[in-house]
Symmetry: C2
Subunit: 301 residues, 2 copies
DNA sequence: CCAAGTTACGAGTCACGTAAGGATT
DNA sequence: AATCCTTACGTGACTCGTAACTTGG
């Protein structure tokens, strides 16, 4: 199993077309055809149905491995390269939408600016997995990812990269002002298992995480929101499309941005759940901007 | 980065010799030299110090990726192959030492023997990671791995394979009969953080797991035991070399095997900790012996 | 009949083995 | 001097592109 055969296979499967994959990879489509044939010949299985191009059962299975393998391959190259390349000059930080709202994060970035004024800092906001992948591949030097967890627990690893806890915040249930629970001083997750939930996996904690933390099968989505804009999400809540969970750190900014007082937030008291921010990074070269930022973010920094 | 370059690199690093790696892989040593040169040239880094052959800093970093990548590559091949190859005929089960002591496991194996008498069952006992790797690579059809966890928590994944909880048992602190805590009706982990501990990572739960569950930095090893024999371990405890943790399921067998009543076991009451057994498997073909065994082991089976 | 994948074939490249050349102990 | 890695070079295999062929909608 050769890597570039895997890469072409993954591309063909993604695009559903030999010719399109050939165009994307800079081959002729004959070459792609030969590569797939060679792979199928090696494994003695048909991986793709042709016309239309669709993964077979075996092909689907292989695809589940192909992504992680290719990612890790890129990560390996990035990791090794980072050890020799220039120490700094610029810094790219990957952020999840909620992570940016944590004071610790904002303060660390400000402190870094003060401490290394000549470094070009650029920040890029994306979904959890995308940030983790970007860091692993070396597209970002450092990432700050938020996620739901029990107190003290670390987040499940999303990509081949190291991670360390950086900050934690209480979690609030966000609901329209008119909701029966609005104004309460606390809410137990068990009481809202069957509410209408908005699945906004790229912004708020994904409902699967909520289920994991609450140990139930509830929290089913009745509304799907794709995108990484927090404000749009809370507008949906205000409009009564459903509920969501947000950390205390993002509430002030969002609550004031909604016309009137149409929103209410109630702390989740049971089980004890926190929104945790973790620093994810590859190799940190001593003295590099990434290392300095990591130092500023570390528990004692 | 081509896979067989990685494989060669990993082999050279493992053996500390170009010629030895060449012998193992069936190349001439000139070829190995060229491959390493090509890899170093591609990454623009020196990966190995020669004479003696030792990974450089960058090489060590690459090595951390090489293992998982090659494993996953094998896993992909095994996974795809398993979908087409013959459904059964024989079954290889990987077991960790403690997992075999669980009644649920023994009963399921017996039931399988009854249900599919013509299948050749072979069992292989090894350390946690080795079992997980064997399953991932297809060397074993199914694995049963034990590990420490909080109630309901699943074990951290050791290899690219699926896992499902199968059984749980109370955890006991095992100590010599003369120990001050002997005969107590329960013990809190916090009270034995600084005891002399035996690190027997291939048999008993590794101390790192204990630290994770207890959330402390204690539980440092004062004695290292390598090997997968439970009896030797408890003999060490009886001889006063240190303490260890074992699930209730393995206690009867071990306690009776020690001359006199030189051993004592006290249940761990706080925090609540369980020894959990998980089934790890790749693809399960319907009707295969592996699938039947998995069914027998499943919570409702 | 057209779009899209496969097969045939030739050319260039690349990787391996043989063999000679250093370097280090 | 012996061991072990590196370099040089020739050959064989492999992979890609061009182009003709086939198949399905």
């Amino acid at each position: 199993v050769d890597t570039h055969l895997l890469r072409t296979f993954a591309t063909v499967a993604k695009l559903g077309s030999f010719s399109a994959a050939a165009a994307e990879l800079g081959y002729t489509q004959a070459a792609v055809s030969q590569q797939i044939a060679s792979l199928e010949n090696d494994l003695k299985v048909t991986l793709l149905n042709r016309r239309p191009v669709t993964p077979t059962e075996a092909g689907a299975r292989l695809l589940e491995h192909a992504g992680p393998i290719l990612l890790r391959l890129d990560a390996a190259r990035a990791d090794v390269t980072r050890m020799t390349s220039a120490p700094s000059a610029s810094l790219t930080v990957g952020l999840t939408p909620l992570a940016g709202g944590f004071p610790a994060v904002a303060l660390a970035l400000a402190a870094l600016r003060r401490q290394m004024p000549r470094v070009d800092i650029s920040v890029w906001v994306g979904a959890r997995a995308d940030v983790a992948i970007a860091v692993a591949r070396g597209d970002a030097d450092i990432g700050l990812v938020d996620g739901l967890s029990a107190p003290g627990d670390s987040l499940p690893l999303l990509a081949p990269a190291s991670a360390a806890g950086v900050a934690e915040a209480e979690v609030f249930l966000v609901l329209p002002a008119g909701h029966p629970l609005a104004g309460r001083t606390g809410v137990r997750l068990a009481n809202v298992v069957d509410a209408r939930w908005i699945e906004a996996a790229d912004v708020a904690p994904p409902l699967s995480d909520v289920r994991r933390v609450a140990r139930t099968d509830g929290f089913r989505a009745s509304f799907l929101y794709r995108g990484t804009d927090t404000l749009s999400l809370i507008n949906l809540v205000a409009a009564g499309q459903g509920l969501t969970l947000l950390p205390a750190t993002t509430l002030p900014a969002t609550m004031n941005s909604v016309a009137g007082s149409e929103l209410s937030a109630v702390p989740v008291t049971e089980p004890r759940v926190l929104c945790r921010v973790e620093l994810v990074h590859g190799v940190l070269r001593a003295g590099s901007a990434a290392a300095v930022l990591a130092g500023l973010l570390s528990p004692r920094g």
